[in-house]
Amino acid sequence: MTQPGSPDQPADQLGELVRVAQRGDALAMNDLLDLLAPYVGRLCGPIALQDGPDAAQEALFAIFRRLGQLREPAALFGWVRAIAVREAVRVARRSQTDRTVTGALADLPAPGDPQLATDVRSLLARLAPEHRAVLVLRDLEGLDEQAAAALLKVPRGTVKSRLSRARRSFRKEWQA
């Protein structure tokens, strides 16, 4: 009987799981879903907020439909991360067309800021989806500005200046 996938499994086992799933094996896909759904949920939740389950579903649609295009199974999680973050931003933007977003004056705290730890949800709700994506990539995934910019397909300077300006804005409000 096929054994389920695990985040801690060796790279060769993960590679074999991906290759079998690419051939359309439903049980390998089941195991890959077990492995990827929690990760995709952690990425989509903070970006798409109440639309998180829809975003995670859309991301996994895209991941499993394009699975055959993944040539290097070792790159699985980076590949999944890029798809999940872009899908979460897309779903969040689509859903908030009728809502007021204060993304232009976004308040991004620095990593480790106590406000971030205590009030993540309300902070996220005040940000535009693109800013939430930067925060997730930086604070949850540990990416640097260059990697975050590449994933979001924006210039590195845009990410850097946006973060810097937002942090100043956040400090100003927090200390007021």
Binding site: M29, N30, G41, G45, P46, G52, P53, Q57, R65, R121
Partner: protein
């Protein structure tokens, strides 16, 4: 939505998972709400030997031959006498079975006082996949029949 250290986490319930599997596999997919609590629905849906042959039109009998945690092996016999070995996974709200030629899945989640139930059936043979556009109307009809039969079995208990 749950949280990890204050960060919201998006949950993918079993029905959404089956939608993902269906989008990758194609084939017959049907989803509906059954007016019964989840526990009652899953007690019938997960009874592979006793109830599954009653709600799946092509299955005459199914016998679970081995089980290890949520993994299982089963032997099924079709209405026309064909036999097949299935490997599968069975856990609360989620079941996927796969033979050499067929894939079947059923998922259920609570939906208020009722339950949302989804069913997937797909051929693994590439040649049959080419016929999918022609089979689509039939697949939709069969999907509705499966869910109706399942609901009837649940209310008959």
């Amino acid at each position: 939505m749950s949280e990890t250290q204050g960060w919201p986490v998006a949950e993918l319930d079993a029905v959404r998972r089956l939608r993902v599997l269906a989008s990758a596999q194609g084939g017959l997919y049907a989803e509906g709400v059954i007016a019964a609590p989840f526990e009652q629905v899953w007690a019938v849906a997960a009874d592979l030997e006793g109830e599954l042959p009653k709600y799946l039109p092509d299955v005459r009998s199914l016998r679970v031959t081995a089980a290890d945690g949520d993994r299982l092996e089963a032997r099924a016999r079709g209405r026309l006498g064909l036999r097949a070995r299935f490997d599968g996974v069975l856990r609360p709200g989620w079941c996927v079975l796969q033979s050499r030629f067929l894939i079947g899945g059923i998922a259920a989640v609570p939906d208020g006082q009722a339950s949302r139930v989804a069913f997937l059936g797909s051929f693994r043979a590439p040649g049959l996949r080419l016929l999918r556009p022609l089979l689509a109307p039939l697949e939709r009809r069969v999907g509705r029949i499966v869910l109706r039969r399942l609901e009837a079995q649940i209310h008959a208990r």
